[in-house]
């Protein structure tokens, strides 16, 4: 996790959610299948070297799954986990083409990835326009780095398919000054803006959009650009801003009562306890839930309470999240229903759209979970993962 450094604000909530869920399982249920879960946390400050250091330091302790929460660390770990045989879960980030489990045996990125996100965003705009974006202008405003550049090929493919005009505008790290980008947007008046930002870039972008009077409902961020942190500094002006999501918002779920009772009141909360119910907290919790489910599956499948990384991997590869699973965990309808296979480490790419309500100060989903354009996305994934396989002498296979 990273609770320090430029992206601390996002890192804290996620880490709290992740840790609290496991604490809850330990406190309430006595662990997973009777085995206490331990969640060692390393502070990486979003820094690749520290990530690697952490990985090396902890892998010998029998780690079951890694959740690095930074795209760059993911890239370093992908080859390492193949050798060490430990699964890596990059939920909604990381290397998109890792969805192809034939090439990336140990890397999982269910339930959604960036290319799904790009496609989902376009789908949403399609919905708003009765299925046609012919002649519309869509601008991708993105972080000038690996993360921000991920959606470009997908969007280019989609632009061709749907006949909209795509422009991309890059913002360099850290993105405190975006005047020129927004003046450009003001001049060109795109119909829609898709936004791939992280950290301070988000807050400034939302603020600047408000400043130039851009209609907020046409401005949509990826899920990493859609937390309370991103919209609060802009105040009322942020009302109506949208962001993609792949899980529910708010604390209106039974699990939160349990967290209050077993974790917060017991004084075992990971952080200050002030993040509960925030978007990123929920995301951390959701990630923890998925990991816990896989672990439980592994125990079930092998009949052994003490599972190994290899068992964990196999369980992740056959993971199936049903409505019942979520119900049992106290989070009914929290995320999409999906399943993982060896060919598909990325789930079904179901995403949803959330919108910010500045008066109520809360995010809420305004759509169901809907699929991405699998045709476009999967073709791209295939191409990219095969290129990787060729470069690294991997024979794609499923056994």
């Amino acid at each position: 996790s990273y609770r320090t450094g430029p992206f601390a604000a996002g890192g804290i909530a996620f880490a709290d959610g992740y840790a609290d869920y496991f604490t809850l399982l330990n406190e309430r249920d006595g662990g997973i299948g009777g085995v206490m879960a331990s969640v060692p946390e390393c502070e990486t400050a979003y820094n690749a070297e520290k990530g690697v250091e952490c990985y090396e330091a902890t892998k010998a302790e029998g780690a079951l799954v890694y959740q690095p929460l930074a795209t760059s660390i993911t890239y370093q770990l992908i080859p390492k986990v193949e050798v060490d045989g430990i699964p890596l879960h990059t939920m909604g980030y990381g290397r998109t083409s890792a969805k192809n489990g034939e090439v990336f045996r140990h890397t999982f990125n269910y339930p959604v990835n960036y290319w799904d996100g790009a496609s989902a965003g376009v789908n949403h705009f399609l919905d708003l326009n009765d299925g046609s974006l012919e002649g519309r202008k869509i601008t991708l405003l993105h972080f000038n780095g690996a993360y921000g550049k991920e959606p470009i090929p997908t969007l280019e493919a989609l632009a061709e398919k749907h006949g909209f005009e795509l422009t991309t505008i890059a913002i360099d790290y850290p993105g405190q000054e975006q005047k020129s980008q927004w003046l450009q947007i003001r001049r060109e008046r795109p119909d829609y803006i898709l936004f791939w930002g992280w950290g301070v870039m988000n807050q400034v972008a939302v603020q600047e959009a408000a400043n130039i009077g851009y209609p907020m409902e046409n401005f949509m961020g990826i899920w990493w650009s859609g937390s309370e942190n991103d919209v609060l500094p802009a105040g009322a002006a942020a009302d109506g801003y949208k962001a993609l999501a792949f899980h529910e918002m708010g604390s209106d779920f039974p699990v939160f009562d349990d967290i209050q009772t077993y974790v917060v009141d017991a004084g075992k909360a990971a952080g200050a306890g002030d993040q509960i119910g925030s978007v990123l907290y929920n995301r951390g919790l959701y990630a923890a839930f998925l990991a816990a489910e896989a672990a439980a599956d592994a125990q079930e499948a092998t009949g052994e309470p003490e599972i190994t990384a290899a068992m964990m991997r196999d369980a992740m590869e056959s993971l199936e999240i049903t409505a019942q699973d979520m119900e049992d965990a106290g989070i009914p309808g929290f995320g999409p229903v999906f399943s993982v296979t060896c060919q598909n480490h990325g789930g079904d790419g179901l995403a949803s759209v959330a919108q910010w309500d500045a008066t109520a100060q809360e995010w809420s989903l305004i759509s169901d979970f809907f699929p991405s354009d699998g045709e476009v996305v999967n073709a791209l994934i295939k191409a990219d993962s095969e290129a990787f396989a060729a470069e690294n002498d991997i024979t794609p296979s499923c056994d």
């Binding site: 690749a48 250091e53 090396e56 010998a60 890239y75 992908i78 080859p79 780095g145 991920e150």
Partner: protein
């Protein structure tokens, strides 16, 4: 009693200008080398290699490089990160373009390419001095990182802009890629470090080194007594960048295996290496090692104390770590502005005089 110059007479000038004029020093360094080459490879494991030894050795190369520029030639540079990136990307392009050539040559060539780039960015140093130059080198830092981010050719058009080190072998053992054994990675870095240190030592004791130091101490006077400032500064930039390029190449290929320019070679890297040089001691090769060791080990050590021993929340430890590292840096600078190397020298000087106080 062992540590005396007296009785250690030199009868020729070459002997007098050798690296370690005092016999005891000489023996000690041979011992260190012997341990480094003959003992450590057999005991090292993944954790030690990848979180301590390999980064230490790689940073030591970068620190030697920067020390040549800043410590010997007096030109402060904040572009180290950018130059490491040049080394890394050059190495990547070479590795993928000529997969059959041994990686050692790729790394050396990457150093050479970086040297050329460094010399080009060194040109303004003829006019610009001191902190103005330091800030100007940031232009290199930001421009290079931007370039590697923008021009897809550098990362072979991969979707994410990351570069990944393919697996390469030396004498049949993998040294890059995920399955490279720890000892091999360590040994490769060690060989390069030794090579660089010897090179740096030779260059700094000869006429080139003296013209660098002359420029550092007083550039006008140096020019008037016959030092060509253009040549001195550009060679310093080139040599320094050569080392930094090698370290960037190793950093990418051997240590991390995958990098993204903005993330791994940002300005924090420049500062980190500069810290190593200053804490270690400007104008001292030993200091480069000391500084690198100090700054690689310290955070790991603090983390172990804070998280594993005291059991504090990681975030608090991380913040405390910042506080402690910051405070220690200030403390050291106050205690001994000339770095760990100077502390070492003073200790030796005392030892030489021992048992007399002065």
């Amino acid at each position: 009693m062992l540590y005396r110059e007296a009785g250690d007479f030199k009868t020729s000038y070459p002997e007098d200008s050798q690296t370690f004029p005092i016999a005891f020093d000489r023996w000690r360094y041979w011992a260190v080398l012997a341990i480094a080459f003959l003992v450590i490879p057999f005991v090292i494991n993944d954790y030690w290699a990848s979180s301590l030894m390999v980064p230490f050795l790689i940073y030591a190369i970068a620190a030697i490089g920067l020390n040549i520029l800043t410590g010997y030639c007096g030109q402060v540079s904040l572009g180290t990160g950018g130059f490491m990136a040049v080394g890394a990307y050059a190495c990547y392009k070479l590795m993928t373009a000529f997969p059959d050539v041994n990686i050692v040559f790729h790394v050396l060539l990457a150093g050479g390419i970086t040297a050329a780039v460094g010399a080009a960015f060194g040109l303004p140093s003829l006019r610009i001095k001191g902190f103005y130059l330091a800030v100007a080198t940031l232009a290199a830092q930001f421009f290079l990182v931007w370039l590697f981010n923008k021009v897809a050719w550098f990362y072979n058009y991969s979707a994410s802009g990351q570069i990944n080190a393919p697996e390469r072998f030396i004498f049949g053992t993998a040294v890059t890629g995920p399955s490279a054994p720890a000892w091999a990675q360590y040994l490769v870095c060690l060989v390069f470090v030794t090579f660089c240190a010897v090179l740096a030592r030779n260059l700094t004791r000869g006429s080139l080194g003296r013209s660098w130091m002359a420029i550092r101490d007083m550039d006008i006077a140096a020019e008037i007594i016959g030092v060509n400032p253009l040549k001195a500064k550009l060679t310093a930039f080139a040599v320094s960048s050569f080392f930094i390029g090698i370290s960037g190449a190793l950093f990418f290929a051997v240590y991390l295996g995958a990098v993204e320019a903005g993330d791994s070679f940002g300005i924090t890297k420049s500062f980190l290496v500069l810290f190593m040089v200053i804490l270690g001691g400007l104008g001292s090769i030993f200091g480069s090692f000391a500084g690198a060791a100090f700054l690689v080990i310290l955070p790991v050590f603090l983390k172990i104390i804070g998280v594993d021993v005291l059991g504090w929340p990681t975030e608090m430890v991380a913040h405390l770590q910042l506080v402690i590292v910051g405070a220690l840096i200030m403390f050291f600078l106050i205690k001994e502005p000339h770095g760990l190397a100077q502390l070492w020298r003073l200790a030796k000087e005392k030892l030489r005089l021992w048992p007399f106080p002065y």
